[in-house]
């Protein structure tokens, strides 16, 4: 019984399935009873109750118990209780809790506002303001002391993971970046170094800097709200939770020797055989569909991939502006809309490429190894 359960968890945590589940859970929990056809709304509406403190508390408690119970499995415990992985395990719960908390407070304020009552921040402090001294400084001081104690205890109890002296000829297997870079390392699996290591991180920083210029919605400043900033919150959380924290989590717990994927209850077998023979888009189209050899000329060879990428970045935004995102286009105006679309589509290209790799073993959509150009 328990074994069967573990097996199904392992099966579900294969990346394409796990990612689909994560995506579905993300949207359903963010917008319970608001997305999709009528039957889906009816089905997911009860989930709104997770934003009640009691229900949310119970959900977290159940998740915590499941997590602790899983630690009785030797394979699970081996990975999760490794000193360097303990903070990541804590991070899962911390991120989930604070996202939940922010959304809960936002929803509560929305409800208060709908009932024409003062929002929480007003109630707690009258005019929405508190004094720096003593309110803020005292809190900070106490936090500092407690946190210092906590860090000292932690550093005594959990050993720092120090390994043998570095040797360029011997790379540990699996080789992992520090946890906060595991998202980047995961991106490197799907993209060329110049995209995953230079372009995308650069665009993440540029995109974060651009937020105040693109998002001119002044609401939500200094108080919790959800209703007034739905798209902004959804886009940000998608990038942060799904594309950053989630990648760190799978990079920590599911990537094993040879960068193969392992279920949480699976033994990290260095000899696990996974058939992963890559195909490029050009091979699929020319060889598999048209039964010809790959053309010699790289431009001709990659013409389909190049068209696809160009259409994705150049043709899709105007189309969206005309059809599905008309209101958004009018709200932002052409310049901001197109900058936003470029950043958003770049962000979305990551999950698209990940899915292509996991399901079709798609190596590169455009590949010109002669000049180090692969997408």
């Amino acid at each position: 019984m328990i074994e069967a359960l573990k097996h199904s968890v392992n099966w579900l945590s294969a990346p394409p399935r796990f990612f689909t589940i994560t995506l579905a859970a993300f949207f359903v929990l963010l917008f319970p009873g608001e997305l999709g056809p009528a039957w889906l709304r009816r089905l997911t509406r009860p989930l709104q109750t997770v934003y009640r403190p009691k229900v949310g508390g119970i959900v977290f408690a159940v998740l915590g118990v499941l997590f602790l119970a899983s630690c009785f499995d030797p394979n699970f415990a081996l990975i999760v209780l490794k000193p360097d992985n303990v903070p990541i395990a804590a991070m899962i719960f911390l991120v989930a809790f604070f996202v939940w908390f922010g959304l809960k407070e936002g929803r509560r304020n929305d409800a208060l506002r709908a009932a024409e009552q003062p929002i929480i921040e007003k109630r707690e402090s009258g005019d929405g303001k508190v004094m720096v001294w003593p309110d803020l400084v005292y809190t900070e001081f106490l936090c500092m002391i407690l946190w210092t104690i906590f860090l000292i205890v932690w550093s005594i109890c959990l050993k720092a993971p120090i390994e043998e002296p570095a040797n360029p000829a011997k790379t540990p297997n699996p080789s992992k970046a520090p946890w906060y870079f595991l998202g980047l390392q995961e991106m490197l699996v799907y993209y060329d170094p110049w995209i995953a290591g230079v372009l995308l991180p650069g665009l993440i920083i540029v995109g974060l800097c651009a937020i105040p210029y693109i998002d001119k919605n002044p609401k939500g400043n200094g108080y919790f709200t959800f209703k007034e900033r739905k798209p902004e919150i959804a886009i940000f959380l998608f990038g942060f939770v799904v594309l950053w924290v989630w990648l760190i989590i799978i990079g920590t717990f599911l990537r094993g020797p040879n960068q193969n994927f392992f279920g949480p209850f699976e033994y990290w077998d260095a000899h696990k055989l996974v058939p992963l023979i890559n195909v490029d888009l050009s091979q699929i189209i020319w060889v598999k569909w048209m039964h010809t050899a790959l053309p010699r000329n790289p431009i001709l060879r990659e013409i389909f991939g190049l068209t696809l990428v160009a259409a994705y970045f150049l043709a899709l935004p105007p189309l969206l502006a005309k059809r599905w995102l008309k209101g958004y286009y009018e709200k932002l105006g052409p310049t901001r809309f197109h900058i936003m679309m470029f950043l958003g589509l770049t962000m979305l290209s990551l999950p698209i490429k990940m899915m292509l790799r996991w399901t079709l073993n798609m190596h590169y959509v455009v590949t010109v190894p002669e000049i180090f150009f692969n997408i």
Binding site: N167, P168, A169, K170, T171, P172, N173, P174, S175, Q185, L188, V189, Y190, Y191, D192, P193, G197, P257, N258, Q259, N260, H271, L273, L276, I277, N278, H363, Y364, T367, P369, E370, F372, N374
Partner: protein
């Protein structure tokens, strides 16, 4: 130094230490010259730093023993640590693969049981020939020049690299027929 040339003269007329425009400018000139000189000295020191007095560089050419030392059908790792190469012998002869992943430069491992090179960093896999077929690596592993020295030993020259995607593996120096 607290010169205030913009202030009305009446306020400061009594104090003779008021800085003149000329004095101010020449002080400024000296200061900037000193600053520029310091920067230049720093730049020179930094440039000098780039050319160390002692440089540890393993030789770029080495002798790897007789061809008979390498068995047919094996991937030899004896020089992996010292020179960063895999020496592979098949039915036709011997070739030398550079032990640097073409994705981001980690050192791949040779997995005997799976008959492939596998990179532990992002999971690129390469056939015994060096051709990439798994994971993100965009190109096959590179090969080094291999020739027979006069004394019959294998001579491996790491200054010359042969890349498959440029069609260089057909070059006679990339492969030692035995």
């Amino acid at each position: 130094m607290a010169a205030a040339p913009g202030k009305p003269a009446s306020a400061q007329a009594a104090t003779p230490s008021v800085m003149t425009r000329r004095g101010f400018l020449s002080t400024l000139g000296v200061a900037w010259t000193a600053f520029a000189a310091a920067c230049a000295a720093g730049a020179v020191a930094t440039t000098r730093f780039m050319f160390p007095n002692v440089l540890f560089e393993p030789p770029q050419q080495f002798k790897a023993g007789l061809p008979a030392d390498f068995q047919t059908g094996t991937v030899d790792q004896r020089y992996k640590e010292s020179f960063g190469v895999f020496i592979v012998r098949d039915e036709q002869g011997i070739y030398v693969l550079r032990a640097v992943c073409t994705h981001l430069g980690c050192t791949p491992n040779w997995l005997e049981a799976e008959n492939k090179f596998k990179c532990p960093c992002h999971g690129s896999g390469f056939y015994r020939s060096g051709i990439n077929y798994e994971g993100p690596a965009p190109r096959p592993l590179e090969r080094y020049r291999i020739v027979l020295a006069d004394d019959g030993q294998i001579l491996i020259d790491k200054t010359k690299i042969f890349a498959q995607e440029k069609g260089e593996w057909s070059s006679p120096d990339s492969f030692l027929k035995v």
